[in-house]
């Protein structure tokens, strides 16, 4: 009845070598291969492996009391930043999309300027602008500078996803909703978004993975996230191999389940067609 074909173009008919499962398998094989090369290389460098010193940075038990180590505290900060940025990113994405879809000239212009600036400047530079310019002007502390910087960066991509989702709702749905005399809020909340959100979920979760990875950039403004903690530990102990591997593994332990979840969502969207 309603042509929903176009909506699923993104996820349908993907060859097996671009599927999530293949991604993961090839990723693990690649990791094993890399590990082998690294161990060979490290051996020839005479690198002194000290894995036994790593667990204390994950957790310690002092006087029978359990204490999270520096890396875990860093992970908490990373997740906290990711959570706040994710919420803000969706708000920014939604507002930008509404401005772009509105008939207001200045609204369109504002949204376009925002999108073009974000897309065409490095994230690192954006983070510095927030840290050195916007932070001091508005008296924002570095944690919130990090959150804002990331949210504005990812918000541009969220806007794209939300826009694609909204535009995939057939025109007839808008017309029926309008013809019923619904106001714009009810049209979005009751008619358009319930149809668009299932389509937006997989790419949005993918964006969340991206956000978690990109949050490492906040170490340049000395926010004590996972990456910063890793750097600090290495500065003290010179265990660069062990710590960077551990840090990478911790990131993976968060992002891989999310990526698997994306795959699951995509399959569900496919089935609904």
């Amino acid at each position: 009845m309603i042509d929903r074909g176009a909506q699923f173009e993104l996820t349908r008919n993907r060859p097996w070598w671009r599927g999530t499962t293949f991604d993961i398998v090839s990723f693990i094989l690649g990791c094993v291969f890399l590990a082998w090369i690294v161990y060979r290389g490290a051996a020839s460098m005479g690198y002194n492996w000290q894995w036994y010193r790593v667990p204390q940075y994950i957790y310690k038990v002092v006087d029978g009391e359990f204490i999270w180590g520096a890396l875990m505290r860093g992970l908490m900060v990373t997740l906290e930043i990711a959570l706040y940025s994710a919420v803000l990113m969706i708000v920014i994405g939604l507002v930008t999309t509404l401005l772009r879809l509105s008939r207001s000239f200045s609204g369109n212009l504002l949204a376009t300027i925002y999108l073009e600036i974000i897309r065409n400047t490095p994230l690192l530079v954006q983070m510095f602008v927030f840290y050195f310019v916007i932070g001091p002007i508005f008296g924002i502390d570095r944690f919130w500078v990090a959150v804002l910087g990331l949210a504005f960066f990812e918000g541009a991509f969220a806007a794209e996803i939300i826009r694609a989702g909204i535009l995939s709702v057939p025109k007839g749905q808008w017309e029926a909703a309008n013809a019923t005399g619904l106001g714009p809020v009810a049209i979005y909340r009751r008619v358009v978004l319930p149809q668009a959100i299932p389509l937006m979920l997989p790419p949005m979760t993918g964006l969340l993975v991206n956000l978690i990875k990109n949050s490492a950039i906040v170490s340049v403004i000395a926010v004590f996230d996972l990456t910063t903690e890793g750097r600090n530990i290495i500065a003290d102990t010179y265990m660069s191999f062990e710590i960077w591997f551990t840090v990478a593994l911790i990131y993976l332990s968060i992002t891989i389940p999310l990526s698997l979840f994306v795959g699951m969502l995509e399959r569900r969207v496919q089935q609904r067609s």
């Binding site: 009845m1 309603i2 057939p170 007839g172 749905q173 017309e175 029926a176 909703a177 309008n178 013809a179 019923t180 005399g181 619904l182 106001g183 714009p184 009810a186 009751r190 008619v191 319930p194 149809q195």
Partner: protein, 254 residues
């Protein structure tokens, strides 16, 4: 809203005063003048691309016209979105492609407008919705989602959805064109009953049998103009325009 009785006493539902509309350079509606009174049942026919859909979509402002005035119950259509939403609550519309909300059950399709646009309570809206689904003879389908219904059932839900707003006038844009032949009758029957109940109706259709039974005026449109508007008797037997006659010959042959 003010009561919609005209100064001259007669109950005008819809008026077009020299309405012109363009899509870019394309002049789609040309000097349309139209008076439709409460209780009138108008059928519009004409070749594809003659502007029939555009004309009725101007009535609830799904399309904007550029020149002239359109009045619905005495209110001039304009750019004010709030005023337009108010007018749309009094003008029901049924689409060729049904346009039911696929994520809502038949019942919820029917209650959405009353709850969100009329501020009715859920219980009250459901009562009204069940009554309207009864009226279109599919009360037992209330809890099904649109994709589980046949085309004819979907279109009847769409009619019930419009009726739940208790509109003063109903617009139909080729309501049976997307249906399999065996389902056309059930939708037409629903529309005939609606007409018998005194509803003001404007219906774009090529179902001439339906037009003969129901319409008090049949209009023929061609190239953006209303070429002929007459009672069915005259329209079918002695139309003034040669173009109307030619069109009738074409559609009545097959």
């Amino acid at each position: 809203m003010a009561a919609a009785v005209n100064v001259d006493g007669c109950n005008k539902m819809i008026e077009f005063r020299s309405v012109n509309k363009w899509y870019g350079d394309f002049h789609v509606l040309k000097d349309i003048d139209l008076d439709i009174e409460a209780g009138q049942r108008v059928v519009i026919c004409g070749p594809s691309g003659s502007g029939k859909s555009t004309l009725i979509r101007c009535i609830n402002r799904l399309e904007e016209h550029q020149q002239g005035e359109i009045l619905v119950e005495g209110e001039v259509l304009g750019d004010n979105p709030v005023a337009n939403a108010l007018i749309r609550r009094k003008v029901g519309m049924v689409f060729q492609q049904f346009n039911l909300f696929p994520h809502l059950t038949a019942l919820d399709n029917c209650t959405l407008g009353p709850i969100k646009a009329l501020g009715m309570s859920r219980a009250e809206a459901q009562e009204r919705a069940r009554a309207q689904l009864e009226r279109v003879k599919i009360p037992e389908q209330a809890d099904k989602f649109p994709q589980a219904l046949s085309g004819g059932q979907q279109q009847r839900v769409a009619i019930a959805r419009s009726l739940c707003m208790e509109p003063d006038v109903m617009l139909f844009d080729e309501p049976t064109s997307a249906l399999d032949p065996e389902m056309i009758a059930e939708v037409l029957d629903t529309m005939i009953e609606l007409a018998d109940s005194g509803m003001t109706m404007i219906c774009v259709t090529h179902e001439m049998g339906f037009a003969k039974t129901v319409a008090d005026t049949i209009m023929f449109m061609d190239e953006g103009r209303i070429v002929e508007a007459a009672a069915p008797e005259k329209f079918f037997n002695s139309p003034d325009s040669a173009r109307t006659r030619k069109f009738l010959d074409q559609i009545l042959i097959h």
